[in-house]
């Protein structure tokens, strides 16, 4: 027998050879029978470069043998060539496939840093199982000139808080490749190497935005009361990306000075996407006047900023400002109303909000009506009758939103309505939503409806959805 195995508690792990033949595959069942009882079998194919198609049948037979005992088979560490064989034979979906880095030697793990598909996983594995051997290999990798190897070795040593790397960090900050610089700067922040903070400031001017961002982030992590003063100048940088980074860094430092700097900059900032980042950054300060500032920004000239303000009001759950936000719901500027309604929908759980929104619904534009219907679903007060009436709206998007909101607050009524709409509604968008709602119901209660709908359905998307559901039946 060429293949090896080990059993740990109820788990059997079998290691397949490089070029397995019929005898090797036959021995799988023998090993299993000899090691019973087993709850899970792992077949490690890390060293196996190819499986002949005639051996696939033996693999299936092994899986069947295990299935009879309710023992799952998991294939580990498949090479691309083996995956291709399983794909060609349409057998890939039949197997559970996983990676298991514990089968890798330390050298193989370091080598895997060059594989972009698994490099991050390998780094995580090493950090979770960090030991002297891995430490030695990672420090060996630091002697390389290869930027990929250096980047992953630095990051991995940073993840495990390996302080022996501290004295090497400055040299990697000066390395000619940006990714290595970035890794070294981030690790300096993670390890709390305060002596490097001044040096990190130089990288805020880097032509590589990732490096500048890493520098701002690490300065925030290493910050004291003097750093917001230094970072504020970046809020006036010519580069809009730097202004965004500065806003994020100041919100992370989160002291009184940072708050004032950000507040002052919003009014001066002309770029709407930077202003939106500043609005979000401002909302990360736990200050009493933030909600009022955000409410005022609902009237900003830019829709991007209004949206950021509405989202931020939701995030800080500004329940104390509901009355103020309600005042904006009927603003003459439709988009101000739109974002105020959205904010209200996510903050308010009160009947008064629902009443106010239902009151302004008649005569509103389609966009506002849609926002109101969505908000009513989020508020969660039972306004089923109102939403039921909205199912008769001429506009298909309103009917779809009404059905969705109805489902959120009165599932029974939404299911009953869906059973009608899936057959009768003239819009496929609504019929699709109805199908989605009915999908969650017990099969026996919707089987006939799905079949009838499928007979009548002409829209491709609804038809495909129904076929998949009827197929499941």
């Amino acid at each position: 027998m060429n293949i090896s195995y080990k059993k740990v508690s109820d788990h059997l792990k079998i290691f397949m050879v490089q070029e397995p033949d019929t005898n090797d595959f036959e021995s799988l069942i023998k090993i299993y029978n000899e090691t019973k009882p087993v709850k899970k079998v792992f077949l490690d194919l890390k060293n196996c470069f190819y499986i002949q198609s005639k051996n696939i049948a033996q693999l299936i037979a092994f899986k069947k043998t295990l299935s009879k005992d309710n023992v799952p088979l998991i294939l580990l560490n498949l090479k691309e060539s083996v995956i291709q064989v399983l794909e060609i034979t349409n057998l890939l979906p039949q197997f559970t496939i996983q990676k298991d880095y514990s089968s890798y030697t330390a050298d193989e793990l370091i080598e895997a840093f060059f594989d972009p598909e698994i490099a991050d996983e390998v780094s995580d594995f090493i950090s979770q199982n960090y030991c002297e051997e891995y430490k030695e290999k990672l420090f060996d990798a630091l002697k390389s000139e290869d930027p990929v190897l250096l980047e992953y070795a630095i990051i991995t040593l940073g993840k495990v808080h390996e302080y022996d790397i501290e004295e090497l960090i400055p040299q990697f900050m000066n390395f000619e490749v940006a990714n290595v610089q970035k890794a070294a700067i981030l690790v300096a922040g993670w390890l709390g190497i305060y002596s490097l903070k001044e040096k990190i400031y130089d990288f805020l001017k880097s032509e590589f935005i990732d490096v500048a961002e890493a520098a701002a982030a690490s300065i925030s992590l290493l910050s004291d009361e003097s750093d917001s003063d230094k970072l504020k100048d970046l809020l006036e940088s010519k580069d809009e990306r730097i202004r965004k980074i500065a806003a994020k860094a100041l919100s992370l430092i989160n002291d009184d000075k940072s708050y004032q700097f950000l507040k002052n900059s919003i009014s001066k900032e002309s770029n709407e996407s930077v202003r939106a980042v500043m609005v979000k950054s401002l909302s990360l300060f736990n200050k009493p006047d933030v909600a009022d500032l955000l409410i005022a920004l609902l009237k900003d000239n830019s829709e991007v900023v209004r949206e950021a303000a509405a989202a931020s009001l939701s995030r800080i759950n500004a329940v104390g400002k509901i009355d103020k936000i309600m005042e904006f719901c009927q603003d003459k500027d439709e988009m101000v109303s739109f974002f105020a309604i959205k904010a209200l929908g996510s903050i308010c759980k009160d009947i008064n909000c629902a009443d106010k929104l239902m009151h302004i619904y008649p005569g509103s534009s389609t966009r506002i009506k849609a926002a109101i219907i969505e908000a009513l679903g989020n508020i969660g007060i039972d306004v089923s009758d109102f939403l039921y009436q909205a199912l008769d709206e001429e506009n298909e998007d309103l009917r779809k939103e009404a059905l969705n909101s109805l489902f959120m607050i009165n599932k029974k009524m939404a299911v009953t309505s869906s059973k009608e709409l899936i057959l009768k509604d003239k819009s496929w968008v609504v019929r699709f939503k109805a199908t989605e709602i009915l999908e969650g119901e017990p099969i026996e209660s919707v089987r006939d409806i799905f079949k009838s709908a499928l007979d009548k359905e002409s829209n491709r998307y609804v038809k495909e959805k129904l076929i998949s559901l009827v197929g499941d039946i």
């Binding site: 993840k159 992590l221 989160n254 736990n286 759950n317």
Partner: protein
């Protein structure tokens, strides 16, 4: 600020409000206390609205001490904004961050 519950034999620490220097230190000490008798703890950030770099530093220090003592720390249920802070500082690579509590509890 901190609520501790046992879920299927695993400890979940629910954080609320703001994580700053003071509350971060409190959190760190609580979890290190838990680690005297347990090997795993999940921190749920569902109720966290604000966090600053001082709070983040305490959580980094908690992870460092957990690793040293061979304890497992999982983070979960972060809002997008809080997760963005971890991503900004690259700490999303350092911590095990799960979308849901059930994923964190495995």
């Amino acid at each position: 600020m901190i609520d501790i519950q046992e879920k299927n034999g695993k400890t979940v620490v629910y954080l609320k409000g703001e994580i700053n220097a003071q509350t971060g230190l409190e959190l760190k000490n609580k979890v290190l206390e838990i680690f005297k008798t347990k090997n795993f703890a999940a921190l749920s950030f569902k109720g966290v609205v604000y966090m600053n770099s001082s709070g983040l530093r305490e959580i980094i220090d908690l992870l460092k001490q957990s690793r040293r003592d061979k304890k497992e720390l999982a983070l979960c249920e972060m809002s997008k904004d809080i997760r963005d802070m971890f991503a900004f500082t690259g700490l999303d690579k350092v911590f095990k961050i799960h979308d849901s509590e059930s994923a964190a509890l495995g």
